[in-house]
């Protein structure tokens, strides 16, 4: 190589150093680019194949072609196993709860049982074992007092709640039994599909120290009902700041879920993101990567609070201006694509609704998005909609800064922005969500 690349030593100043013939620089750059694409061909394929409705530029195609060729070479040379293990090593390192936060949006590695603050719901008050939600959801952390402060939502986005004697969270009067659908997987790029046929276990390191403790217990009993999905339950939670931010919803939900046997949780949230603005953050490609990486059998999605704006493509071009039927159609299409990603993985999908907001205009817009989310979720065989609005509103379905705790005392429920949750609220909502999950998933402590 030294004969091919001629690097002339100049007699210039210390600052100049050596000069290089252009051919040398071109060769070195090609070498670096080729090395990266060859070595990390899997990432190249994931990054470059999932952009903007399949439209690919010339150089994207070139990068993809190079990566596919790399995958073929690795397979033929019998070294793809090495690269699989190497990928797992890096994934494990990045998933390590002590070192990185991995796909969990916030801080991980929290020791089981530790509280965020004095107002946190103690571990002992987590949802009961009884999976009959009709009887127990009422007392399982919904915040309703023994004296009947049931919330009745008048939000048009959600069905009216039963008022007396029934669970405030038993909202699915019209729910249908959802069998687990089995669908054909959409074919991945050939090279990536080949690469994934050899079993690639999820990163060796557990995603949570709390789930590690649970792994050593005996496996749970078979589900009582044949429809319920049995453990192991690999749950992926994705969404916007409600999922990302500590103290919102994602963190309490994750920690509460980890109390159950055979449950592992991966969480990825992105502040200020949503489905509408792919130019800001592309959840479509991210969800594909996460589905590939974690292979969940349960996915919990929460989007919409940042989506009261135009639907745009990844390059910033407007697909549909905000408001109107065109926007509704495009937004539902985005959600449908997200649900499809996980349905192709044969995962059960739960789409969470959005809470009311302090700003009345925003709240009205959010209510509309809830309608769209709900109708789209219910249109999918393997998806369910779990409303959140009524869990954090007053008895008239309106926004309130305060909610009663189990003892009937009013506690601050929302943060100063009138959008996000306090930890108390996060646990309250998590309990209700888990009650709903328990109708489809076998959850046992």
């Amino acid at each position: 190589m030294a004969e091919v690349i001629k690097i002339e030593i100049s007699n210039g100043s210390k600052n100049q150093g050596r000069k290089a013939g252009p051919a040398a620089a071109v060769f070195v750059f090609f070498l670096i680019a080729a090395s990266v694409i060859f070595y990390d061909s899997r990432k190249v394929l994931l990054w470059e194949t999932q952009r903007e409705n399949g439209k690919q530029t010339l150089f994207q195609k070139g990068a993809i072609a190079a990566a596919e060729t790399s995958e073929k070479i690795k397979n033929r040379a019998g070294i793809s196993g090495f690269f699989e293990k190497e990928n797992e090593f890096w994934a494990g390192l990045k998933e390590s709860p002590e070192f990185f936060s991995g796909t969990r949006g916030q801080y991980s590695g929290l020791a089981a049982g530790s509280d965020w603050d004095s107002q946190a719901v103690p571990k002992g008050e987590a949802p009961s074992d009884d999976l009959d939600a009709g009887e127990n959801a009422e007392t399982a952390g919904t915040g309703n007092s023994a004296g009947n402060e049931k919330t009745v939502s008048k939000d048009p986005a959600e069905p009216a709640l039963p008022e007396n004697g029934e669970s405030a969270t038993d909202i699915r009067a019209e729910a249908k039994t959802v069998p687990i659908a089995i669908k054909e997987e959409k074919p991945l790029p050939e090279a990536l599909a080949t690469a994934t046929t050899t079993p690639a276990p999820v990163a060796a390191a557990p995603t949570s120290t709390r789930s590690l403790a649970r792994k050593e217990e005996k496996p749970a009993k078979p589900p009582e009902s044949p429809e319920k999905l049995a453990p192991p339950l690999k749950i992926l939670i994705i969404g916007d700041s409600f999922v990302a931010v500590g103290g919102g919803l994602g963190d309490p939900l994750e920690r509460t879920l980890l109390n159950y046997r055979g449950v592992t949780v991966a969480r990825k949230g992105r502040v200020s993101s949503g489905l509408a603005r792919q130019d800001y953050f592309n959840w479509h490609s991210t969800a594909l990567a996460l589905a590939e990486q974690h292979n969940p059998n349960v996915a919990i999605l929460m989007f919409g609070s940042n989506d009261t704006q135009a639907v745009t493509a990844a390059n910033g071009g407007i697909v549909a201006g905000y408001g109107g039927k065109n926007w509704d159609r495009e937004y539902k299409k985005r959600l449908a694509e997200m649900i499809d990603i996980f349905e192709r993985k044969k995962a059960k999908v739960f789409v969470l609704g959005l809470p009311c907001m302090r700003n009345a205009n925003l709240s009205a817009q959010i209510a509309h998005i809830n309608e769209l989310i709900k109708s789209e979720a219910l249109a999918h065989k393997n998806a369910e909609f779990i409303p959140v609005w009524n869990l954090v509103s007053d008895k008239n379905g309106n926004y309130t800064d305060y909610l009663p705790d189990a003892g009937g005392r009013k506690k601050l429920a929302r943060t100063a922005d009138g959008v996000h949750f306090q930890y108390f609220t996060g646990y309250l909502v998590s309990s209700a969500i888990i009650d709903e999950l328990g109708k489809t998933l076998f959850l046992k402590k």
Binding site: S35, W116, G321, T415
Partner: protein, 482 residues
Amino acid sequence: METRNESMIFPTFEFFAFFAVALALNWFLKRWPLAWRLFLLIASYYFYSVWDVRLLLVLFFLSLFNFASGYAIFRNYLQERKFILILTVVCDLGTLAVFKYYDFFRQSAESLLGRLGFFADMPLLEIILPIGLSFYLFKIISFVADVYLGKIESYPGFLDFAIYVSFFPQLLSGPISRGREFFPQLAAGGAEKIDRPYYYFTLIMLGLFKKICLSSYLVLNLTDDAFAVPGNHSSLIILMAVFAYSLVIYFDLSSYSDMAIGFAGLMGFRLPANFDAPYLARNIQDFWRRWHISLSAWIRDYIYIPLGGNRKGEARKCANLMIAMIVMGLWHGSAGHYLFWGGFQGLGLAAHQAYRTRTRGKMIFGRSGGSRIGKTAAWLLTFLFITAGWVFFRSESVADAFTIFSRVIHPVSVSEPVQLYLFLAIGTGFLLLAFEKQIIDNLCRLQERLPVSVWCFLLSALAISIFKLGPDTLPAFIYFSF
């Protein structure tokens, strides 16, 4: 204004493929000057068109319009050089205002009219800001102003001018180079050889590392969350996030500049340096000589000095500084917190000038001289002032910024663990801040001593490691939204 994280930005494989081909063609075509120039323009226009072809039209028409105006000024057509200059600048800034500030004005006007009892429903244009507009418009304006001031001796052809405006390594996020630095390089056909190959490759690798391994992780795992809902985090986390954001914004912007300089250098062009260890500054004035040098120099040359600079007394000088920094804040965006940040910086500069005048230059906040304790105190105060300014810059509003400050000042004890990597990332970041120049120099010297084959292997291994360590989704560059 939201940022974009798709399409052909520097740390993507698509860009690597593009640049590999562009680099080879650049050197191959140099023997034919016209073909080489056409290639540079086509490559730059292609690079920009990947974002959106319509944005390319904006770029082209702005180039055409300003080229014609500049020529009219150069030739003194109609004997109205000043009028043509003013008209051109107004049109350019008007373009920027429409794309960047229309929604802000619309919302403000509707809000004000609503309070007065008039309800207006102004059209919502939902304009997407052409990426890089702020940067290349400033390049264009600097060129036209330089023509007026007689600093351009020989008027370039349209091809050269269009290349200057659209040169892809610096198109999206600077550095904002001046025509009088760029045109001679074009005229000379670029360099015959790459004069500092190790330096340019080092800059590219360093830029990738800063963006992918440091800035992205701190954004995804600390600053975004902490700034979004400060009330839900402990004071320690908020404090870490505040200091981490100082690192984030520096690494984000300087990484792009490093890579831009590196890529341009490999093509035979020298771009101006954009940062000079800014966080080592011992006073606010020194900071602004080291931070985003091309932008602050632009503000100095085309705002501050035309306003009178320091030639019209102390009071006027302070006023000019305030105006210049408010313009700096406005350049970043129309939101109130950017204005507040600009004003905050202006106040700092004005206070520094007043202090300097009173102490007649003998001050601890000097760039040299003074005791070690004095220098350290000066550095610390300057760093804390700048960091406090970034809180306003990053927060969603001025009120949010004060929420963050109150969270720091009134400690809240919340049990909230922190990953080891955050400490490592912040620690590495600060070490890099302190010793960046030495690190670059030492890396260059080390590379010179290595056999070429070993050098190539190490560069490849380093690039692979950087991508491996990076998160799965790359946050956009902060300055793409300005």
